[in-house]
Point group: C2
DNA sequence: CATTATTATTGTCTTGGACAAATATTCGAT
DNA sequence: ATCGAATATTTGTCCAAGACAATAATAATG
């Protein structure tokens, strides 16, 4: 596996891989006859573990110096016995079990029934959010593979899109353009927000994921949007978020609000002219807020 | 705009941008006080034009030496008057017009009606494929912005996912795992294939886009798949495809077939053990073929 | 104990060179 | 003149070692 393939597989940049080798002595790939790096499978596997733990908050220096055993220990920390808050939620456990068994039809049916029972809004607020969190957690603990996360994500995406499609297409206020920035490919947060906003009568225009910043501006202007809503997943690199957001804020006209949501939103420092939605409840109240402000324009700001 | 942002926005690698600067003198970015490259907006815009034309088949040496006027000429080649094959297809023109007007509800309704009229299979084979091609063409000519392509793609994706979801979940043979490789984010080709396969009674397990190769293998084994189907869009860098495919072929067990489809599939040299689907008709006949082969195992191979 | 200053960590950018795969072109033979 | 093989050019990716600034962790201070 050459360095480009490892970058694709682990999400770690080429520069990062080379500088780790220089500084920490790991990974230490073989070389082919032209002197280029060839990473053995076990080193790639270890890099994926390290990547997971970094997303959990561990620092590289610690992880790269750690022994095989230490990594395994960090991956599966001994769960404190007193904390068993999840047992009560049988749907959650059931879903995780279905994912692990790769039972796609069962997964689909279970989720569908849950949505029917709770209604779309309740499903989004009370089921999908904790479910996403649980799946992410399981992944960071190494209990789920990436492809299992993909299976889950695909089913949930299908379900949400079908539900959104079945809604009467709203034509009300406000008009919201939804998307993610380049390199952010997670769409579930976006779809959840779209479902909530659409249920509440707002006009939603989703661009899907990874729209260049210049195109976000063009789209907002073309749709005469009141709001641009951007979603960041928990996995998005924290150091890139702040500059990206302020650049986007500069690009957008002042009268268009910029809402930032998703699991990554709580790691962002507050910025003027940017509304952070830390949680889906915030999204609903922000929408109510916006309407109130429009109803009573004397309120100021 | 620094070099990382340009890489995101244009899809051109950092190394490529630097080597172009050295060899061709373009792009020639400003430098900040630490000596790092800062690309002005007009150079980024020109790079996006160049990227478009490269996807059309022009070579970098030509494009980077070209003047502003030449680029404009290549972008909008004088259409030969005799060739007007598209006029007959009013749905196509109507759809393009709706995209340009950013009329999302109209777009959605038009596509939905077309699908109802033709049925899912006819819609996929006779409408979506030429529509995708037309949208891609319009984009390469600079007539559509990226965000307009996103709008179209989102609507089509919703429509297809709803249609697939409404099918009775098939449990027949063969069992097919569908996905794309990392860095390939276009999903429409995958959904079209899934629709056709599912209509024909195959069991489909879609992983969505960008699954690491190791996870593709794990998924195929977990689902006891007969076939792994990978989609490449026209925009995928040609030089990466062949090594990626042969690496995947090595990873997969021999009894699992590897099918490669999508608009980019016709630029791939034939490889043993890999079945290239150049067009959606090929997909259907490959499926028929597979079944025939299983029915008459004496056929050999 | 809270807050500020210092030190360590870490990702990304820099240069200029090298090489091989892909593509174009030339040459020779039928 | 046309096809195929041999040669030349183009082009993306990789390498090395160094530098810097932003972040996080630690020490020093009120």
């Amino acid at each position: 596996m050459n360095i480009g393939a490892v970058e694709r597989d682990t999400g770690l940049g080429k520069d990062t891989l080379r500088v780790w080798e220089r500084r920490y002595g790991f990974p230490l790939p073989d070389r082919d006859d032209k002197g280029e790096r060839l990473y053995p499978a076990d080193q790639v596997a270890r890099l994926r573990v390290i990547r997971r733990l970094m997303d959990q908050g561990y620092r590289p220096g610690r992880l790269l110096a750690a022994s095989e055993a230490e990594l395994a220990e960090l991956s599966a920390p001994p769960v404190p016995v007193n904390a068993t808050p999840l047992v009560e939620n049988s749907l959650l456990l059931q879903t995780l079990a279905l994912i692990r068994q790769h039972d796609v039809p069962g997964l689909r049916q279970t989720l569908e029934q849950a949505m029917m029972r709770q209604g779309l809004q309740g499903f989004v607020l009370n089921t999908i959010a904790p479910l996403n969190h649980a799946v992410g957690e399981a992944w960071t603990r190494g209990e789920l593979e990436i492809f299992e996360e993909h299976l889950y994500s695909e089913q949930m995406q299908s379900l949400l899109r079908r539900a959104i499609g079945n809604l009467t297409q709203a034509t009300g206020q406000p008009r919201i353009v939804l998307t993610t920035v380049p390199e952010e490919q997670h769409i579930l947060g976006l779809l959840m927000a779209e479902a909530l906003f659409a249920l509440d009568g707002a006009s939603c225009f989703s661009l899907g994921t990874q729209t260049p910043l210049l195109d976000i501006r063009m789209a907002a202007q073309a749709q005469t949007a009141d709001i641009v809503a951007i979603s960041f997943s928990a996995a998005f690199p924290a150091r890139q978020m702040a500059p990206l957001i302020s650049q986007l804020r500069t690009l957008l006209p002042e009268n268009i609000e910029l809402w930032i949501g998703g699991a990554g939103a709580n790691r962002i420092p507050a910025q003027p002219g940017v509304i952070l939605l830390c949680g889906l409840q915030d999204a609903l109240s922000a929408l109510a807020n916006w309407r109130q402000k429009r109803a009573q324009p004397a309120d100021g700001l």
